[in-house]
């Protein structure tokens, strides 16, 4: 019974993905591209080590972003502001990182802490506004995103940037003690070639730790219990002693703190600085990954990898002269399709569970009668 439940819950994201691919195929057909050809190209890339590294490189920050969103989702709290939180956190962390000189691990720790604190503060504004003034967190986090973009533009142009030969504004390069080494040995030790132009980010380990901590926090601690029951049934949570305001504020802080870590992988890894062309959009895509992975640490990891693969595949399409943006369309459709699919399959699963329990109860009754 447990296994069939697992299969059923897998059916929802799978059918959503299939549906989205179908929509993508129709779009491709309309513009005169053979979808089988395009999807074939997307699959053909998979085995070489550069693709693997590229996929993971993309998946790591996406995963962290998804976790940041998911923790809010656990209690029906929408943090749409991960985008702004991670960007402003990455910029400050980059600036802090270039202005301290410390022993390696400590240096990284300071950078990470700075990112967490700035992210938490930025999200905390929305939390405080909701708790004290009743401001809807969706609107406030959207507005805070744009305020963050402006603040970044201003600070980068006027305060944090360093002289550089390129026109690209940037914080100073982090010293080697502030950089995480890559993890390419993880694949080269199996005889793969060294990836080219991209590396498996050292922060992969950080992402795994975040996933584990998220799991423990949500499913193994009292806080996590209060968090989840607030989402499941606010009335029961309230009666059981959960203070909704405290819960909202702390959850927003934690979500923002995790959001602050989204950019760290790139910051202490590939780029080594916060630049004007620092990767954007991870906050919004993180929402999609969280929905796809059903807020579960493993599910979201799979979702992040899937999105990583798709982004990598997009590059392959481009080389073949097929518009890579078809991938973004598919990703967008997935978000809507997966929510609808979970709604439908969730009902089926619940019905089956009740039926199974009833059947088990019947067995129980018979057993009881025999023993009496």
């Amino acid at each position: 019974m447990k296994f069939s439940k697992f299969l059923l819950s897998l059916l929802a994201p799978v059918s959503a993905i299939v549906f989205s691919l179908a929509v993508g195929a129709v779009v491709l057909l309309i513009v005169g591209i053979n979808p089988l050809d395009a999807y074939g190209q997307m699959l053909s890339f998979s085995t070489d080590s550069t693709s693997l590294a590229s996929t993971i490189n993309r998946a790591v920050p996406l995963y962290v972003s998804a976790v940041a969103v998911a923790i809010g989702f656990q209690m029906n709290l929408f943090n749409i502001g991960v985008e702004g939180q991670y960007l402003i956190a990455a910029m400050f962390a980059g600036w802090v990182g270039t202005n301290v000189v410390l022993w390696g691990p400590l240096h990284i720790t300071v950078i990470v802490l700075a990112a967490v604190i700035v992210g938490a503060i930025w999200a905390g504004i929305a939390g405080a506004l909701k708790v004290t003034r009743g401001v809807n967190e969706v609107i406030s986090t959207i507005m805070l995103n744009f305020i963050a973009f402006s603040a970044i533009a201003y600070l980068l142009a006027n305060r944090f940037s360093v002289e550089s030969e390129s026109l690209n504004l940037s914080t100073g390069k982090l010293p080697p003690s502030g950089r995480l080494p890559d993890l390419n040995w993880m694949i080269t030790m199996f005889g793969f070639a060294e990836p080219r132009g991209v590396a498996i980010p050292g922060f992969l380990i950080g992402a795994i730790v975040i996933g584990a901590v998220y799991y423990i926090l949500v499913w193994r601690t009292r806080f996590g219990f209060d968090l989840r029951i607030s989402g499941m049934n606010p009335g029961s949570a309230r009666m059981s002693g959960v203070n909704p305001k405290k819960m909202v504020f702390y959850t927003m802080l934690i979500s923002g703190g995790i959001a602050g870590l989204v950019g760290v992988s790139t910051l202490v890894g590939k780029l080594g600085a916060y630049t004007q062309d620092f990767p954007r959009g991870l906050g919004f895509t993180g929402i999609a990954v969280a929905l796809l992975g059903r807020n579960h640490p493993v599910g979201m990891a799979l979702g992040a990898l899937l999105f990583g693969i798709m982004d990598r595949a997009a590059l392959v399409l481009k080389l073949e002269g097929i518009p890579e943006e078809i991938v973004v369309i598919i990703q967008g459709v997935i978000v809507l399709a997966v929510v609808i699919a979970y709604e439908i399959f969730g009902r089926i699963i619940a019905k089956r569970e009740v039926k199974a329990a009833a059947a088990a109860l019947d067995q129980l009754d018979k057993g009881v009668e025999v023993t009496v």
Binding site: R220, T221, M239, S240, N243
Partner: protein
């Protein structure tokens, strides 16, 4: 046919819901241009009957005759088409629209492409002045008092040309002056030829306004009487039932040690209406205090205030001699206050979560469920197994979601988890509502047993058998006030009914 002076006749109407017979061969006959009251306790089947007349439900069997013609209504629209209108107990109004907009919505008179506001305003003012319900059509509904909103609801129905009005507990939300005004309005309407069907359980009001009264009990019509032929006491007896169960003859285990002391608890709604008015009582070790009352008279607010879910405006709550008035809900759980919530689906369970998580609910900060900031999975599972075993919860295992359990077993789980925590005081709200007889008996036994061991219980219930059978003392709550303290061994239906319906009001205890 033409000699028929009946506005509405309901013949042998039966309506069942899964497991409940809401209406059992009900007959009702309402004359044209009369005020016909239908009285009965909660759950007597009044609302179901009226919903069928208004087309929101269809009867399983029986006939509905309107002005002598057999009709079948499939939706309120059909009923409205036959001149029947309903004023719901919970108003169906949009606060941010004007009175005028609310009234014309869905039935807009047009002038060209726009709404004929001018014409509609005149019609409304005309209706208002004719029936003494004048109200400014341009005011926003949110600025109206409850009584004025009710007028809007009535005007809405009249605007659509209804000549038969159903009013579902119209006085439940009104203050006395508003009630008087409403009754004046109703009389004007009646004199103008409108038929009014008026649902209530406030007997003095019914006696003062109705032309005839039909009493319902347990899904059946008991009788139809004229107000001149009965007094409030007789009516209350008809409503509650002629025989009250004799209380169980278990010996008293009440000690003289006060466990819970509630003093002068007061709580007002945002609009200033008193929901709890100077409520005071004490419960001793080994005592069960029962709270009787028609629902909606402050019971929910009392529970919320005791649990710290709402902050009362004044008053103190003392548990074991400690003032817990300012304590959080969690603190109260930890201090030994247990709760069986009145609505188990909304306040007592996590329907989609496994049983072991449900058992944690309310005790998540305590041993054996928590160890420091972490959940103690092993302790939780053991405790859940124990609840299931000791309280005989029928379930295949403790991993199934709560919604897989029958209502009775869900309730046994809730009672069991609260008992396991060995509380000093248990607030038991409708502990056996909507569950099977077996589970009901088991829960009653459990409460008696715990009482013998010294538990203090506040029992809030709509089930008079339960209240009289279990309580050591019966308090009656009416309009947020404790209006009587009665000995369950001596109470008669007449007395209980008259206090519950507000006919008698001695401030006691």
């Amino acid at each position: 046919m033409s000699e028929n002076d009946r506005a509405v006749e309901l013949v042998d109407i039966t309506k069942t819901f899964p497991g409940v017979i809401a209406n059992d061969k009900v007959n009702l006959s309402v004359a044209l241009a009369e005020i016909h009251a239908i009285v009965g306790e909660n759950g007597a089947g009044k609302s179901t009957l009226m919903n069928m007349l208004y087309g929101m439900l269809t009867p399983d069997s029986g006939e509905i005759l309107v002005r002598g013609q057999v009709e079948r209504f499939h939706s309120p629209k059909d009923a409205i088409g036959h001149g029947i209108g309903m004023v719901h107990q919970h108003f169906m109004l949009a606060d941010n629209l004007t009175v005028l907009e609310n009234i014309v919505l869905g039935f807009e008179p047009k002038s060209g492409v726009t709404i004929d506001f001018k014409g509609a305003r005149e019609t409304i003012l005309e209706l208002g002045s004719r029936y003494g319900m004048s109200i400014d059509p341009n005011t926003l509904v949110e600025k109206l008092s409850v009584g004025q909103r009710q007028r809007v609801e009535i005007l809405k129905v009249l605007f659509r040309g209804a000549s038969i009005l159903i009013l579902d507990e119209p006085t439940a939300v009104l203050v006395p002056q508003e009630v008087d005004e409403l009754f004046d309005n109703l009389k004007v309407l009646r004199d103008d030829g409108v038929t009014l069907i008026f649902i209530s359980h406030k007997l003095d009001e019914v006696l003062s306004v109705a032309d005839s009264i039909t009493v319902m009990r347990g899904g059946k019509t008991v009788t139809t009487v004229l107000p001149a032929d009965v007094d409030a006491g007789q009516l209350a007896e008809l409503m509650v039932g002629s025989e009250l169960p004799s209380p169980d003859t278990t010996e008293s285990t009440v000690t003289d040690q006060v466990v819970l002391r509630v003093e002068n608890l007061a709580y007002r709604a945002p609009d200033g209406r008193a929901l709890l008015d100077d409520v005071s009582f004490t419960i001793h070790n080994g005592e069960i205090i029962g709270i009787a009352g028609v629902e909606g008279n402050g019971q929910s607010e009392l529970i919320d205030a005791l649990m710290g879910v709402v902050e009362p405006d004044s008053g103190t709550v003392e548990l074991d001699g400690t003032d817990i008035s300012g304590a959080s809900t969690m603190d109260r759980h930890e201090a030994g206050l247990g709760i069986i919530p009145e609505d188990r689906h909304r306040q007592g369970l996590l329907l989609n979560a496994p049983l072991w998580e449900n058992v944690m609910l309310g005790h998540q900060s305590q041993v054996p469920f928590a160890r420091g900031p972490f959940i103690d999975m092993k302790g939780t599972r053991n405790a859940t197994e124990e609840v299931v075993r000791r309280f005989n919860v029928k379930t295949p295992n403790i991993n199934v979601p709560a919604l897989a359990l029958s209502g009775g077993n869900q309730q046994k789980l809730i009672v069991g988890k609260e008992m396991l925590a060995k509380p000093d005081v248990l607030i038991a709200a409708h502990p056996t509502r909507g569950i099977d007889v077996g589970a009901q008996a088991a829960i009653w036994d459990e409460l008696r047993e715990a009482r013998r061991e010294g538990l203090a219980v506040l029992l809030i219930s709509a089930d008079l058998d339960e209240l009289i059978g279990l309580s050591d003392t019966l308090l009656v709550i009416f309009d947020g006030k404790i209006v009587a303290s009665l000995d369950p061994a001596e109470v008669t239906p007449e007395i209980l009914g008259s206090y519950m319906t507000g006919v008698a009001q001695d401030v006691a205890s």
